[in-house]
Symmetry: D3
Subunit: 291 residues, 6 copies
């Protein structure tokens, strides 16, 4: 269980959901161990964030556990993710998904796009993931954002930190999406006003961070941002109307001394603390009952 999780599903307003899907990974599998490892290392974290001066004690979230994956069956697995997300969203809770491979973002975004017509998607990633198909498959970690584009429209996709892809992906990105190669912090800051209070889904592929800071991922891509920059980006989420988040592609078997898993766990903590509604946080009495 993620550190500080509430024990009461009813009262929780944020829901941590593990999605250890690892089906379309063709090289170096391991993301299936992601959610479990994040929970384990979360034990070593403090509940208090000095950055936000807020504690998990004041946030009513519930760690739902893992969605059961059928390893040989992509369609069934995606359907299960969709089911869980639908139920969560219908109950008015904000899902915080921990992957698993990037493909888990697709059903999550579909569910939220069903609910919020004007949904915008923010993607932090080293790779564009805009291919139309990959190794003959249309559903893959390398095509996931193309499928997202088909669902929410390219004009509602904001991509940050992209530094690898085919020429076609880059030309597509530059032409159609809000495409910010290489850097994350400045373009995010510049987008805040435009994003305003629209409903936002955030998907973070941990490989957006440089492999020095996040070696535990399947396709490490040199020359990325620092973990500190991503942390600062996450701290800006409090300015937005975030209705769903995922953080994907952590692969514990490729990690060293858990430094990537700890980074993901800390980002999850900052996300939970950051997107927790201020008015609630400002009312200690109200918050009290969630402790």
């Amino acid at each position: 269980m993620f550190i500080g999780s509430n024990t009461d599903w009813e009262e929780a307003r944020l829901a941590i959901i593990g999605a250890p899907m690892d089906c379309t990974t063709s090289f170096r599998p391991g993301t299936r161990f992601g959610p479990g490892r994040v929970r384990e290392v979360s034990e070593g974290l403090e509940e208090y964030s000095p950055y936000l001066d807020r504690s998990l004690k004041d946030v009513a979230f519930y760690d739902v556990g893992d969605i059961s994956v059928v390893f040989g069956d992509v369609d069934t697995t995606l359907a299960r993710v969709r089911d869980v997300l639908e139920e969560t969203v219908e109950l008015g809770k904000i899902p915080v998904l921990i992957g698993g491979e990037h493909l888990v973002s697709l059903p999550a975004i579909e569910v939220l796009a069903d609910r919020y017509e004007e949904l915008k998607v923010l993607q932090f990633d080293a790779h564009a993931d805009l291919r139309d198909e990959y190794l003959g498959q249309r559903l893959s970690h390398a095509t996931v954002m193309r499928r997202v584009v088909e669902r929410v429209g390219a004009e509602n996709l904001y991509q940050f930190g992209i530094r690898s892809g085919t020429a076609e992906e880059f030309y597509f990105g530059h032409a159609k999406t809000h495409f910010h190669p290489d850097t994350i912090l400045e373009p995010l800051r510049d987008s805040l006003t435009e994003l305003g209070k629209d409903p936002i889904y955030v998907t973070i592929d941990i490989d957006v961070v440089d492999p020095a800071f996040a070696p535990g991922t399947g396709n490490p891509e040199p020359a990325g941002c620092t973990s500190r920059e991503l942390m600062e980006a996450v701290h800006l989420f409090g300015c937005l109307n975030v209705v769903g988040v995922d953080i994907v592609e952590l692969s514990p078997p490729l990690d060293h001394a858990d430094i990537t898993a700890i980074l993901v766990a800390k980002l999850v903590r900052e996300i939970l603390l950051g997107i927790w509604p201020k008015q609630v946080a400002g009312l200690p009495q109200a918050a009290q009952k969630y402790r």
Copy 2:
């Protein structure tokens, strides 16, 4: 390419086929890297076997390479294995399959059972693999021999070295198959006469060997046979009419210093040398042309 492979597919009578299927593995994936690693370490082997006093130079075999796997799709992957096997067998060549997970044995055995009515299957394995279903799936590494039983009949399945399973599997085995728990060498020797010249398919799950000798596998089971015992068993294949072989469940990421991969490679060499027809081997002139 496996050491000593012929360059001519036409003339080859034995075919090495990699089947890096790793789809239904729910814990600790890695068998997808098996065939590749076996080829790499085969470079360090001698072509000559002092046990059989025979060299790969005298054996016309061809390393076909790997069957392309669709990681999220068990059915498609099994169909591909079946296709390649059918073509191989139709051309009169004996397939030597390198896994991959144990489920790859199923299409291979089906293809050979189609061709040889009276096919018998010899299984060397720590686990019975006789469950009817596993985690809700009927096609799994844990159910594969039950599917085989349904195809060839329990009376044609010979199981050696089994030391783990449910009570149901053991009761089923004792009642219906030729079931030899714990040991491999004596019961194999005792079965030779009975097996006679019937067509034989051999499937070797490398976990039949004790984890001390073969740590590189997903479900290591203590108290197994030694690598030397399995080598001796393999040397008996020359007495049988072997029409197909597989060796599965090597998981290189779990191996140490390649000792399991080297063992598998050496077993493959001994299998190639052992099942190569004596009359051909006895005719150096004939063999010469395959060099």
Copy 3:
């Protein structure tokens, strides 16, 4: 929780207790992770033992969890072990302790010697552990059996598999204890009649097994017994009146691919199944209620 553990402490007659003590280890610490890792890998085991044709479903045992260790304080930690053992034994339950370093055996044996005047101790170990002091300390993994001798008398200590120690330890052993260097199975068989129905405490230091089969331990000693021999020895416990067991010195950080942890978990399963009273096991109706 160890696989198959009952959920009802009251009805349990066997108690698994983790003692992750790792205080006096001067080189290569790690036994503190032993009990936890054994529980984790136990998930991969079957509940059914084909050796004993019995299942954990028929055994009423309860996994108590770990005793909390104070890492800088040997005395307090040993006192806690003693407390938990006393309560367990008073309730008529048989403790099965998982270490931790070998020193945890001392309070366990003291508690059982208090209860059973004629207690005999069986030690399976590569090392004699008979020093009077070690690095100036009288309480250490290297002195533990000397302390045991002081409590139960040298004539009640049976040592098997010893293959390393000082000359003094070997002379002491040969002169005073039932001392069986190097081998375990034959001398155990020869001792069965003599041991009869006396109350027996068994302590297994996993390093009695050869490092090939059990690399995950702090002081691996070459030329030990095989895991199969130790398994056979454990299967003889059913003939004895075992009132307490421990298995110690597993060090997961030194293990490879969990082969030592899996071996320990399997030995624990066989111990639970083996020492479970036959009359109870023979009464399916009675056993039924513990399922």
Copy 4:
């Protein structure tokens, strides 16, 4: 022996002292191997620092070796550290302590506070270490700076780089100590005038550096400073009146390719070169005799 160590204790004015204490570590032990590994990798360093244009040949320091630790006994171990430090300080030598866990700083600071009434302590650390107790213990790596505060007064503690702790620790820090969360270099530069020529004890917990640069530590905390920033901070020590230094919490078993150990060794070199009195260094003839 640390590279370039003098062979004459009498003439040495700086003393390297290993304190491999690893007693209160409840998770992932390993700091006990810190001093030894630092010495080993120091062999690969040059004696010359291009940053300071000075060589260890001109610095009279002596590597005393390790203080013997009693692993099960915190009090005895701390007393031994205190003894060695007292003797060192009485002889007018500056101690450079290599840990070991952070708790070793306590006796060192106590000894120096006895000698220098107005002692100030500079702490570089990811964690505040200001808890009053931790897991029921008042002496722990998590409480060490609270004990220091009790000895030297909160107003004499300067904390740099702190980025993790409980709310209580952060409120305490902000209210009472010179508390500089997150960054190290700017606040250190700003403090130089204030620190003036007062006697300074510096304690560096290597986890102040980001895990990318220093993975080999027990509690890696993402979003830290770079190794280059810490190196620059160390280069400022030459402006201060440093009377004692420690560098702690290196855990070699968690390191990769020794990069953390090499960083610590290089920091020790720069510290030795940096705090060596200028007037001595300026007198080549005098320095000559120490070569």
Copy 5:
């Protein structure tokens, strides 16, 4: 084969050559596995560089494979490197050498200095490598740039990022070569005009990068540049008249999760794309035929 390599040696204008020399390494060997590992991980790269908006499809290069090394014989090995380089250069092709230890640069630079009288050498390295001899040998990875100085003159050697060496090396560097300690990007930019269109040989020791980004090397040196800075430096090569390049000292056994190997592979891609003559690249029709 490096990703995107042409199949036609005749038409290629750039030649990748592996030089797995690993002869004078006295500690932690492993660079012999460098070229092989770079090729393997290159499979995971895209052929398209978003930084340069150019693809390997438009670059006519050929991966020659590895030069065969005689491990016990430095002279023979260097002679072989020289032979291959001479043939390559005579055919008008630009060599891109992948090491192997740094000593392989020597024959390459000698060959190019024979051809281009006014050859200038750019060295990116953590170490000066300017010793006159090392452990009694004049040919060593630690002396290689001193030998280069003897061949091309100190005034033609530009050194960037140097942060370790003896005092003698630093004094020699400061006095005689274009010596830029510590940083790489600014001094390279400042040198561009001076370098103009003179023929340039670039040698990159991967340890110029900080160990956080490039742990897989024999002598990691803390406080180096980031991988992003080196990437930017490489992107400036397009402004220069580069006639030969090498990138050396990658040691895969010391790497973690291949992050250093992937960095080297990506740098090789950027080098190939960057130094490919603009006029050719600007003529898609011409380039077309190399696809």
Copy 6:
């Protein structure tokens, strides 16, 4: 220093000599770390052998340290080994060489063959090492015993445990040397009478042992003997007139948890104890002075 080493070279009658030669290794280097690692792990051994009931305290041996190796220069390195051996043998001391690659045996055997006309060589090895040349070199770990045959005559070479080689090597062995493939213990026992009191040089390639027991070597060969069998073989050396011993091909980087290094260290201990002249050992007074 190996545990229990005397401090007085003059009085020593046995000399441990490290020969970390690792020059002709083309794949997976690492034997250069062999002697150092054996010394380190020897610290964990007891000085007393319960097998021989004798202690290193009673054996006057001296650990000479390592011969300095020139990594790029086979001839110089072999000449150095020869020099050290000559001096050792001239002083009447028995050399116990720790490798390093197998080629170090050659100069040792040459020196002893110069002194003892009728020298016989006992080789324990997985590989015949009888090639005439390997990769174009006549001096290699794969040709070393062929060179030995040229020096002492094939009739004086006894080979045990050989299980890999070319057909030519096996035919040569069977025809000319005392060739015992596969097993070691029985053929050694059978040879004792024939060997009588002739001067014997023993060379042990640790890969004669199965990789399960000795994974830390460059060319592990499955289906070898157990460590216990080699230990028993070593215990027979006391019956022979051993004038020199080596134990080679330990490669610590390929080892796991030091189990191979500990095995080698223990074998060295048993060799020292076993070949120590009985008459001396039988005279405690005489032995006393060597303590």
